[in-house]
Amino acid sequence: MKISQTDVEKVARLSRLSLAPEDLETMRGQMDAVLGYVDKLNELDTEGIEPMAHAVPMANAFREDEVKPSIGVERALQNAPASGDECFTVPKVIE
């Protein structure tokens, strides 16, 4: 077994997802099967191989720091679940 129910609960918290108790074991089993499968990668000796983050070799993409028009407050807020005073509104953060 690669992953326990406790691990799954911890990962769910990190992912900001809540799992119903009855779904916990299904998720554990499915993650376990995939994690068991990906263990296959350990058959390969990758000592000294550079990890690859990107498909095309590319350095940083720099540009001039020029002021340009942006999308604007109205457009930026048009999909906000809650907004006010030209800001996104969120539940109280500090008690």
């Binding site: 992953i3 691990d7 799954v8 990962v11 769910a12 990190l14 992912s15 900001r16 997802l17 809540s18 998720m27 499915q30 993650m31 099967a33 995939v34 994690l35 499968y37 990906v38 263990d39 296959k40 990668l41 350990n42 058959e43 390969l44 990758t46 191989i49 550079e50 990890p51 690859m52 983050a53 990107h54 498909a55 095309v56 590319m58 993409a61 540009r63 999308i71 457009r75 930026a76 048009q78 999909n79 906000a80 679940p81 809650a82 996104f88 969120v90 539940p91 109280k92 953060v93």
Partner: protein, 485 residues
């Protein structure tokens, strides 16, 4: 009229000569969607009003003798592309009410060329799936047999073309999501080289793998559409600043003298008999066309799926962190504080497969597992890319099946995610390597389901790959078959 009888170039000619109008073509599309979509469930949003208005403008341009490559041609796009003032849902409940505040660069380019955007196509939620069953808008059905899946995640993009609802579409391909549904629906689909097409305004799934790709009824249309959307975009820092060739110019160059490699790891025992037969017949066609066929090896192929499902899920867990009920999307809040609001919004908004992938990715990136899973997979990715670069020193391109089987029946794989993941075995390696690849029709199963052939080209050698695809298409009749609906 049936739109899938003509190429875009032919339709453009008819429009220019005044034999038809864009409004008439668009009305034909809308009528076809109306007549078939109850059975197929291809469209999430049909933009009838906007499309007819755009068609009227196109007709004015045509009458004035101006216009672009696509003026007046009805096109639809996967519901992952931002299209200004139209809903973009990604087939997710969490974006159910999301109205794009801007156009994706590819959409801007389509509009600049005069395309009429008819609507937004169904897909697997956030492009995660191989069957188009993971959609908040319901499963898409395969136009060749409605009991079967159309493939995924761009299932709607492939099915819309196959069903003659629109002339061509755009999809996205992260691990085969354009090519596999194109194969399952008997149409042509292309994944460009990573960096060839801008992703600005395309909802991100796995950013080191995602590419935008065209889907069309024939190779010429696919080439034309690629040319219309390709090119450097300062708004996408991963797009590559290299010139876009005219993909139509030498399309008829043929394959005589070209070296085509058959990677032996792709011709495995598990391959479906009908797929094997069709691909063997395609190899014979290429020999007759004067190509030299050689066996080659991509030794790390068997590690590609494992590598992909670590990297893609890790990137997805990071990309999808933005859906938190604050700036856009669904908010669910019972008043128990900010973190609870995040959790409730995400739990209510995401479907099962998306949650599973976020969980897997978060696990692979979490403290204590990062080196063992994520870094390990990145190293294996280097080996897989090296396989391709080595092979491309020996041959001009590769020929493989697209998928191990024709489209499976709806509902048969939903409970076994790992089995579903393994069905992407022939398409995933090219996303990891970042090179270009495409699917084109090469036969039918005994059950009457389409089978696709995959060509894999060198990085930025889309033109050469399209020439080989065109030569095959001209020598065969498969692309002319259309489903009865």
């Amino acid at each position: 009229m049936a739109l899938n009888e003509f190429t875009i170039t032919q339709l453009r000619g008819q429009l220019e000569r005044g034999e038809t109008t864009s409004v008439a073509l668009t009305q034909a599309c809308l009528a076809r969607i109306e007549a078939t979509d109850e059975r197929l469930n291809v469209f999430i949003t049909v933009c009838a009003e906007e499309a007819l208005a755009a068609a009227a403008v196109a007709d004015q341009q045509l009458a004035a003798g101006s216009g672009g490559l696509l003026t007046g041609i009805p096109i639809a796009v996967k519901d992952i592309f931002n299209t200004i003032d139209v809903r973009t849902t990604c087939a997710s409940k969490i974006l159910d009410n999301y109205i794009s505040p801007y156009d994706a660069t590819t959409i801007t380019k389509l509009r600049e060329q005069g395309a009429v955007i008819v609507g937004k196509l169904n897909m697997d939620e956030f492009a995660m799936g191989s069957s188009n069953e993971n959609s908040a808008a319901g499963a898409v059905r395969n136009p060749w047999n409605v009991e079967h899946v159309p493939g995924g995640s761009s299932g709607g993009s492939a099915a819309a073309v196959a069903a003659g609802q629109v002339v061509a579409t755009l999809g996205t391909d992260t691990g085969g999501s354009v090519r596999q549904p194109a194969s399952h629906c008997g149409v042509v689909g292309l994944k460009p080289t990573y960096g060839r097409v801008s992703r600005y305004g395309v909802v991100a799934f796995a950013s080191s793998l995602d590419q935008v790709g065209p889907v069309a009824g024939n190779v010429e249309d696919c080439a034309l559409l690629l040319g219309a959307v390709a090119g450097y975009d300062p708004a996408d820092s991963t797009s590559v600043d290299c010139p876009v060739p005219d993909y139509l110019e030498n399309l008829r160059a043929g394959v005589a003298g070209k070296k085509i490699g058959l990677p032996k790891e792709y011709f495995i025992d598990g391959l479906d008999g009908d797929v094997q037969k069709s691909v063997d017949a395609a190899i014979k066609v290429y020999k007759e066309l004067g190509a030299e066929i050689v066996e080659v090896s991509l030794p790390h192929t068997e590690y590609a799926v494992a590598c992909y499902y670590l990297l893609a899920t890790a990137e997805a867990s990071s990309n999808l962190a933005r859906y938190d009920g604050v700036r856009f999307g669904k908010r669910q809040d019972d008043g128990n504080g900010l973190v609870n609001m995040y959790e409730q919004s995400r739990t209510a908004g995401f479907g099962a497969e998306v949650k599973r992938r976020i969980m897997l990715g978060t696990y692979a990136l979490s403290s204590g597992y990062y080196d063992a899973y994520y870094i390990k997979a990145q190293k294996v990715r280097t080996l897989i890319r090296q396989d391709f670069l080595t092979v491309f020193e020996q041959v001009d391109m590769l020929l493989t099946p697209v998928a191990p089987t024709p489209a499976f029946k709806i509902g048969t794989m939903v409970d076994d995610p790992l089995k579903m993941y393994l069905s992407d075995i022939f398409t995933i390696p090219t996303n990891l390597a970042g090179t270009c690849a495409m699917s084109l029709p090469c036969g039918f199963s005994e059950e009457g389901l389409p089978i696709g052939l995959q060509l894999v080209g060198k990085p930025f050698a889309e033109a050469e790959m399209l020439q080989a695809a065109y030569a095959f298409e001209q020598a065969t009749e498969w692309h002319k078959r259309v489903p009865e609906l």
